[in-house]
Amino acid sequence: MTPIAPWYLRPLAAVTAILFAVLIGGMLIIASGANPLAAYWQIVVGSLSPASLSDTLNWATPLVGMTLAAAIPLRGGMVNLGGDGQMVIGGLVGALVPIYLPGLPGPLAALLSLIAAALAGGLYAALAAWGQTRHNIPMLISSLLMSYPAVGITSYIVRFPLRDTATGLPQSEMIPEAARLLTLSGALNLGVLIMAAIGVLAVYIDRTTVAGYELRMRGSNLRFAAYGGVRLPRQAILTMFTSGAIAGTVGAIVVLGSQFRFIDGALLSPAYTWSGLMAALLANGEPLGAIAAGLFFAALQTGGFAMQRETSVPRVLTMVLQSVVILFLAMRHGIARRAT
């Protein structure tokens, strides 16, 4: 909120990086023998036209969620690489609650499912923070490593003990219809509103609360926060809990709103965690900027599907564009640092 450099500098840098990425992507498309203008036009139409906007928002819901899950710790100088694990735990818990608590009224089951998913994801992330504060296990590594058992165990659960025997596929049973998230229009469901509320809340907390101030000060100078009396261990655990809770909620939203069951691998294949991490880095953890970056990536990726459908250019190109944007920003960062 406080201008560190002139306020427009970071967005300006982001726009410049995006332009460079578009240029490099264009050259790649030309090299592959396709028309870059047509390809880019399909990305725009396929993501922003009225017909595709709901697809974009539906894709953006988990992506922006994972962006926030990455951005919140980053605001305090911490990195949560364990989004995948926290998300699948949330997804599985979110599916099991309505499936195995029958008899509850639908909306209540959905609400319970979301809360349970947030708690589960949050506690799992907080465990990594506890390891750091109590046992000096670097969270950067532990959060990532803890993802693998989480992914493995959720996969095991839907492959063996709780597999849907009707289909024989590695997935849970279907969630009762009453407990699914309300459909708004087309692919859009209540999840997008839940995520919007979480986003507003994140920006509000960052800008106006004591917790937001303390987290920003920690990110700005850890030793200053320690010296000023900020309780760093508690802060780390609460921050990671919040981050993991959002990741868990993302898992539950996808399960309750789009897939209606926990399907092994389905939450991970779109790589929301990593796109979200990139978006969060792009904004340096500032929540509003991170949300904007997350929306941009969501539009890019959704447009990529249209591009792949309508032209001969594969949608992997959008991932290339995303990476080039980050690389250019990182380079600018490095150059600026050397110059001072």
Partner: protein, 507 residues
């Protein structure tokens, strides 16, 4: 002595942003000489050594080795040209053997393989020649600190270092190990090598060095021949201003104890504790000064008193409440304010605004915060008031403090900590690197704290500051308080001797 010096640095300038870390530094080291480099933290010693070892490039100035002008582009380049350095924290592979560590990067080869027989032989011969006996096949991780240091020295000698930089080599050694090191140093210089000896310990400088160069604020403050100098001269050169602004003695009656520490012990590197059973009391209405050459446990003492560093023994009371083992927030809540030594890295968040910096510690209670929400208007208003009251030169409350000069940044820190109105104030090097005007202002503020009936613990390496402000002076040496001197008896000579670790009687 040869006429061509082993090492000559002329007019070295190194700038980091707005600060001149080295400002026209000249240094000449003769062959066969032990040359001590002294100075407070931040005086520019580390920068100078980094330049001499090729880790940093000077912005201006020339380097000559054995009379030849050289440019040292990297440590590898410096090593190739005959420089060697033993860092304070050793750069060894603990899992490898002594000989593997020593030849690393310059291994004798036989075809594709390391010729371990030749390496072992060379090291044995080297050790014998210099009286540095080590078992070449021992794992470094199993060796004592003193022996590891020997390995570091052998590593430099194996690369045929002519000039050896020892960066605070005795900081981690026991007295016996130090004596061994000095013996080693004499043998090396008898061999025609030169040693640059960076240290905080006056006694060692007097004992072992031939000449001393004293740095202060990035400049050479004195070049002294050890045999013709006294510890007091060196302290004076290091701490600078001898103008004693004698402050009016305390008006307030010395009151109840506000800060009490008993038997504080803090673990240090190696076997010696950084803080060894230190007890002190600061009463209401007095300033207690802690004098001492930097690195004798002052930082550890302050960190222990403020909750930043875990204690291995002892108790702390702030304004009557026990805070032993509490975190920083607990100490502050009991009534402690703290002006830290390092205003940029500890005392402020440079990228954040003045308002945010001034709010720290006040940000979680009224009037700045209510029900977990921060009142931005109140935060800005408070900053505006403090900026005016403390005459801080800044564009406004929303400007980041990273752009401020040292003196103004220090005023931000001082303003914040004094506005706590805490009964206990710990002021650590409150005027280091601050101009004369701001220094006088900060001194007046400290005296005002005292006259209000607060207790002030003043830690400073500037003897004149200690002497002019303190009602009592405690002298720290090697992690202990070795003397308490009342204001009436404190003078530069007596304190200077104590700072060097000698008792007044023995002097």
């Amino acid at each position: 002595m040869l006429t061509v010096p082993a090492l000559e640095a002329a007019g070295i300038v190194k700038r980091y942003g707005a600060t001149l870390a080295n400002d026209d530094v000249d240094l000449t080291v003769a062959s066969g000489e032990i040359h001590a480099v002294m100075g407070e933290n931040g005086a520019g010693k580390s920068t100078l050594m980094s330049i001499l070892y090729g880790l940093q490039q000077p912005d201006a100035g020339r380097l000559l080795l054995q009379g030849q002008e050289v440019r040292l582009r990297s440590p590898l380049d410096a090593i190739a040209k005959g420089m060697g350095m033993v860092h304070q924290s050793f750069k060894l592979f603990n899992g490898l053997t002594v000989w593997e560590n020593i030849v690393f990067g310059a291994e004798p080869r036989r075809g594709l393989f390391i010729d371990s027989a030749t390496a072992r032989q060379a090291i044995a011969a080297l050790g014998e020649h210099h009286g540095l006996s080590v078992d070449p096949d021992a794992r470094v991780g199993t060796l004592s600190v003193g022996v590891r240091q020997r390995v570091e020295i052998l590593k430099a000698l194996y690369r045929e270092a002519r000039v050896l930089i020892l960066d605070e080599p005795t900081a981690v050694l026991t007295p016996q190990e130090s004596a061994g090191l000095f013996l080693m140093m004499r043998r090396l210089t008898a061999d025609g090598r030169s040693i640059l000896f960076v240290t905080h310990k006056l006694q060692e400088v007097m004992e072992i060095s031939d000449r001393v160069t004293v740095l202060r604020d990035g400049r050479v403050a004195a070049r002294l021949r050890t045999s013709e100098t006294t510890p007091q001269d060196i302290v004076r050169a290091m701490t600078g201003r001898t103008i004693a602004l004698t402050a009016a003695p305390s008006q307030a009656q010395r009151g109840r104890p506000l800060l009490e520490a008993t038997e504080l012990t803090v673990a240090g590197p190696g076997n010696r504790p950084a803080l060894d059973r230190v007890s002190l009391t600061v009463h209401a209405g007095e300033i207690v000064g802690i004098a001492g050459v930097a690195g004798n446990g002052q930082s550890e003492l302050v960190e222990a008193l403020t909750g930043l560093r875990p204690l291995s023994g002892g108790t702390v009371h702030v304004d009557g409440s026990a805070v032993t083992g509490a975190d920083v927030a607990g100490h502050r809540a009991a009534g402690l304010a703290y002006i830290p030594e390092d205003r940029g890295n500890v005392g402020s968040a440079l990228a954040a605004s003045a308002a945010e910096n001034l709010a720290m510690g006040f940000h979680n209670r009224p009037p700045l915060a209510q029900h977990g929400r921060i009142n931005r208007a109140a935060m800005t208003e408070r900053a505006r008031g403090l900026i005016e009251r403390f005459d801080i030169l800044i564009a406004g409350p929303e400007a980041p403090v990273g752009s401020l000069s040292g003196g103004n940044l220090q005023k931000v820190v001082v303003a914040r900590e004094l506005s706590h109105e805490a009964p206990v104030l710990i002021a650590e090097q409150p005027t280091r690197g601050v101009d004369v005007g701001a220094t006088e202002y900060i001194h007046a503020q400290l005296l005002a704290e005292r006259d209000k009936g607060h207790g002030v613990l003043l830690v400073s390496a500037e003897l004149s500051e200690i002497l002019s402000l303190s009602d009592r002076v405690l002298v720290m040496y090697e992690g202990r308080i070795i003397a308490e001197v009342p204001r009436a008896k404190a003078n530069p000579d007596s304190i200077g001797l104590l700072m060097a670790g000698r008792s007044v009687a023995a002097a």
